[in-house]
């Protein structure tokens, strides 16, 4: 009787990552699977830890901007935004209104670019090839705009303490204005391709539900939190920059499942386009930078500034010393870090194939998680 194979369920441990197409970078998951069901998950991060916080302590305030570009490397403008706002808060500096508009326009464009990337890679994750091509066509156009503004397609290093590096190039706003309707149409095309696809609905509806309580407890933020039904957007709850002057709505989901997270992001693209249109109408000529020294020596103090990055609540905690060119301590509070914390709870009991959609819809960037 001994040689009859056991019919007890056999679990085996699957090592997903750090090199795996679904982990979008260098995330490592140790998944215990029972057949195709996930019974337990252990998340390992730190494969992209570059010690940015330590590096910042040795750089001057203006050099640090380029380090922030490398945190969330698909939303560079948004990263710079938080940092320069933190320094300005300690300095008590006012930013010229035109500079604020330029910042908001670039940040919102970057949010669209980031969400388009999310859309494309989610398509790839669930096996649809075409979305990524549609999304990247528009993303290329947006990056051409970034290049015309900052001279770089990705690591822009464009914002400065007290303003921005340069004024917008000639004809930028007109060109953007004529491009936005095309972008809107392209986003609609993307929407038609995936949003109500029957297989896509089957794959994402009711999958990877992040309960409201869990989301708040883990301090999940941004679209992931809003998909769980919490109407919380830093641009609305703690308005910064010129957001009080702008009209926009906050899309929220109801179930907190993968489809809601996807849908919230697609709606946010529309809202961002709306915001940019208003900015183009309101922007006026003027100075783009206050009179700031090249060597910044802020007074002793500390500031915690949060902005709404495409991935959520991105905070910078800055502690300075009197008359020092370098900060005493910088801590970046990254939204992806907190989203990943909720992963272990979300994955339990789901199918292995759904792990891919859940990872995709959480939309984390490892550069920001590991810093």
């Amino acid at each position: 009787m001994d040689n009859i194979p056991s019919t007890e369920p056999v679990e085996f441990m699957l090592n997903v990552g750090p090199q795996h197409p679904a982990t979008h970078g260098v995330l490592r998951l140790l998944i215990d699977v029972d057949g195709e069901r996930i019974s337990q998950v252990e998340t390992h991060i730190g494969y992209l830890h570059r010690g940015t916080e330590k590096l910042c302590e040795g750089e001057t305030f203006s050099q640090i901007i380029s380090l922030f570009d490398r945190l969330d490397y698909v939303a560079n403008f948004n990263m710079e935004m938080s940092y320069v706002m933190a320094v300005e808060k300690i300095l008590g500096l006012d930013v010229p209104i035109r500079a604020e508009y330029i910042r908001v326009v670039t940040c919102e464009l970057n949010r669209i670019a980031s969400h388009l990337l999310f859309y494309g890679t989610l398509g790839l994750d669930i096996g649809a090839m075409t979305p990524v091509m549609y999304a990247f066509r528009e993303r290329e156009a947006l990056q051409a705009y970034f290049e015309s503004v900052s001279g770089a397609r990705m690591m822009h290093n464009f914002f400065r303490v007290g303003g921005v590096k340069e004024d917008l190039p000639e004809g930028f706003l007109e060109s953007l204005q004529s491009y936005l309707p095309k972008l809107k149409q392209a986003v609609q095309e993307c929407d038609q391709l995936l949003t109500l696809n029957d297989i896509f609905l089957e794959r994402t509806k009711g999958v990877g539900i992040l309960e409201k309580v869990d989301a708040v407890d883990f301090a999940v933020s941004g679209p992931n939190l809003r998909a769980s039904g919490v109407e919380h957007d830093i641009r609305r709850t703690e308005p910064y920059s010129i957001y009080p002057n702008l009209k926009f709505s906050i899309p929220t989901g109801t179930n907190g499942d993968s489809w809601d997270r996807y849908w919230v992001r697609m709606q946010e693209i529309q809202e961002s386009i709306f915001i940019i249109e208003q900015c183009i109408d309101q922007i006026e000529p003027g100075p783009i930078s206050g009179r700031t020294r090249t060597v910044i020596r802020p007074p002793k103090g500390e500031a915690y500034v949060r902005t709404e990055s495409p991935r959520g609540d991105f905070g910078v905690y800055l502690v300075t010393e009197e008359n020092k060119e370098q900060p005493y301590r910088i801590k970046m509070r990254s939204p992806s870090f907190c989203s990943l914390m909720a992963l272990e709870t979300m994955l339990q009991g789901e199918y292995l194939a759904d792990a891919v959609t859940i990872l995709g819809t959480l939309d984390f960037i490892m550069g920001e998680v590991d810093r």
Partner: protein, 191 residues
């Protein structure tokens, strides 16, 4: 010898004062003056809630800062989270700052129900860096505490899993402490 040192000290002090005055003048010239923030109404309710605990509450810029000692940290956090008019359910950020003798752990809290925010700070001596964990209060503190443990060598008691998060197993030292020396690296391959 002694007098000489005193003279050096004085010189150093004068230099620093001059630098500070210069910086102040520069800031005024650049139009960067300290902004006035309205006093926050939150301060009263926090003081009322925490009156039986040894805490200091003050407002710096627009932040309400609650300074507490490590013993009453858990009590403070619990009250901040559970009191009806405060409801700080959302732990935004947990970070640490190394002030050489002390390590300060900073909790940035906010509430989704009310439009207010606060900062809880506590200091422990660097030699015996140990704090109770707030994971039972906010589950989201989990990885933040592991990160602080990695980078500052702070031990959090009652934490469910205090394994390294960002650094690899067997990493020596606590990189974000000011006393940490970055190891020399050789140029070229194999460094």
């Amino acid at each position: 010898m002694n007098g000489n040192e005193g003279a050096e000290d004085q010189k150093e002090q004068r230099r620093e004062e001059a630098l500070a005055r210069g910086a102040e003048r520069r800031r005024q010239r650049e139009g960067a003056t300290a902004k006035e923030y309205p006093p926050s109404p939150l301060i009263q309710s926090i003081v009322k809630t925490l009156r039986h605990l040894s805490v200091d509450t003050e407002q710096i810029m627009d932040e309400v800062i609650v300074r507490t000692d490590p013993e009453s940290l858990i009590e403070t956090c619990k009250l901040l989270r559970e009191t009806a008019e405060l409801e700080f359910t959302y732990l935004r950020c947990l970070s640490a700052v190394d002030y050489v003798e002390n390590i300060e752990v900073v909790y940035h809290l906010s509430s989704l129900e009310h439009p207010h925010k606060t900062v809880v700070k506590t200091q422990v001596p660097t030699e015996s860096a140990e704090l109770p964990s707030v994971v039972p209060i906010w589950r989201g503190a989990d990885w933040h505490e592991r990160e602080v443990h990695d980078l500052f060598g702070m031990a959090f008691t009652n934490h469910p899993n205090m394994s390294p998060l960002l650094l690899f197993d067997g990493f020596e030292g606590f990189p974000l402490r000011k006393s940490y020396k970055i190891p020399e690296q050789k140029e070229g391959l194999g460094g």
